[in-house]
Amino acid sequence: MTLISRAWLLAETPQSRRQAALGQAYLGWLAFQRNPIGMAGLAIILALIVVSALSPILMPFDPIAADTANRLRPPSGTHWFGTDELGRDILSRLIAGAPITLMIVVLVAVLVAPVGLAIGCIAGYYGGWIDRVLMRITDVFMAFPRLILALALVAVLKPGLENAILAIAVTGWPPYARMARAETLTIRQSDYIAAMRQLGASDARIILFHVVPMCLSSLIVRVTLDMAGVILTAAGLGFLGLGAQPPLPEWGAMISTGRRFLLDQWWVGTFPGLAICIVSLGFNLLGDGLREVLDPKQR
């Protein structure tokens, strides 16, 4: 067992693929670590995950049960962020909303990234009419503003959290396909792909083991940056009453409620908005930091 040391990681002549890979990762981490923007984003996302995991323990009050005696209380020692129109503690509802946000983000990423990647890699690798057809479909979806298409889809499918996620996913894959195609086009020309072909590797094997891995770093950056947009779109749908339905403590829907009390009870709508801001800022900061490390063109 080799001792993992700084010297071992930074060795000029790595002895194994694993050492080389870990060494690269360590160099990346060193670069990332010096980037205050990326580190701030990482901290926010880690906090979101921790809060989501521990949300039942962290909530000081019941986020769902009404307590009409305490309605619309301003922020105080007991209710740090005040209470809403049903007397529910807003801080508790924000904490209960964290896992919902995390779930939206994870589900969309899981649905969208592989589909976009597959379509883009296939289009780029095969070229010809396959490419033309797939890219035409991509263009059609990119021709709609994302929110408007999602709105129309949700209206058709019936408002609700699951349908909102589905609509966001359906409208979300085209940029990934474009990106993966562009990367594949440059990779396809390279000599090592030609070498693989001459060795008799199947197309599936080349795409899966030699093209897809090369697209991964751009994909990770793209997914991270995209998650901020996903959170905003989900919140927008919630705000319009097309996303999560009451009494689910989804942050966008909470702002929608707060709108009715904007002028006199500002806290009802302000805190959920701040929560959305912080989390999507976290994804943006993290994505930006990752891009500087993973995308050599930006350096």
Partner: protein, 283 residues
């Protein structure tokens, strides 16, 4: 020949990277007059960095130190290390200029070549547009471009590589500097136009009594074109001699380079593999 145009003492260029500090130039010193000085070396030997360090154009992760970089142009003697940014701006182009390798990249793609040449003139001379234009056209003529009025209005992508490099030379010489640094000025060009471009540089430099630093990896070219030669290896000067004495060079690296040159009249035996001794970097 007096060696008072430029004297460089203990010049170092370092790059501070994640992996640690890399020294591209490791304490070199040389002096030159209004002559043609060649700097040869392989890629990574620090020859280009030397040129850029003199103009203080080494970018961010890099840093330049030296005991002195004394430049003695028409407007007096100055230490380039301590000159203010404003003074450096007046010196760049006005007194020391540089021609770079590939005109495809070194010319601004969205400005007509005429405007770029006129700009170089107007930065250093307070003249109007019309006079700058006339000067630029005269300069295009001086670098042997036919139909300079038409070329004036062309964009860089509309001219050939050889013409691009002549435009570059025109732009760098129009404010009448004392020293020209030519960094691999012909490496990106077709062999057929290389001599042509060198001849233009030679004529203009001699005619104007300027100093020239020719940076190249091409031993033959430097030996036949320059008065004196510095051979660089691993950021150090390993050999300094008159060009015509190069064949009698003593350093094993230079000897190795000379041995690697194929000649027409000798039978084509096996080429010698160049030996490199890490000790040369520290000696």
């Amino acid at each position: 020949m007096s060696f008072d145009l430029l004297s460089v003492e203990n010049l170092r260029v370092r790059f501070h990277l994640d992996k640690g500090t890399v020294e591209a130039v490791r304490g070199i010193s040389f002096r030159m007059g209004r002559e043609k000085l060649g700097i040869v070396g392989e890629s990574g030997s620090g020859k280009s960095m030397t040129g850029r360090a003199i103009l203080r154009l080494v970018q961010k992760p890099g840093s330049v130190t030296a005991d002195a970089i004394r430049f003695n142009g028409r407007s007096g003697s100055r230490d380039l290390l301590t000159a203010s940014p404003a003074e450096m701006q007046a010196i760049r182009g006005g007194q020391i200029s540089m021609v770079m390798q590939d005109p495809k990249f070194s010319l601004n793609p969205v400005m007509t070549v005429g405007k770029q040449i006129a700009e170089a003139y107007r930065i250093h001379r307070k003249v109007g547009r019309t006079e700058a234009r006339e000067r630029a056209i005269a300069m295009l003529k001086a670098v042997r471009i036919r139909d300079p009025e038409a070329v004036f209005n062309r964009y860089p992508h509309e001219v050939s590589g050889g013409m691009g490099q002549r435009i570059m030379i025109a732009m760098m010489l129009i404010p009448d500097p004392d020293l020209l640094i030519a960094d691999e000025p012909t490496s990106a060009l077709d062999v057929t136009v290389q001599t042509q471009v060198l001849a233009i540089i030679d004529d203009l430099v001699t005619e104007r009594g300027m100093g020239l630093i020719l940076i190249s990896h091409d031993l033959n070219l430097v030996a036949s074109f320059c008065d004196r030669v510095l051979v660089m290896y691993g950021g150090r000067i390993v050999e300094e001699c008159r060009a015509k004495d190069l064949h009698a060079a003593t350093h094993p690296y230079t000897r190795g380079l000379l041995a690697a040159l194929p000649t027409i009249d000798a039978p084509p035996g096996d080429l010698q593999v160049l030996t490199r001794d890490p000790a040369w970097m520290h000696a």
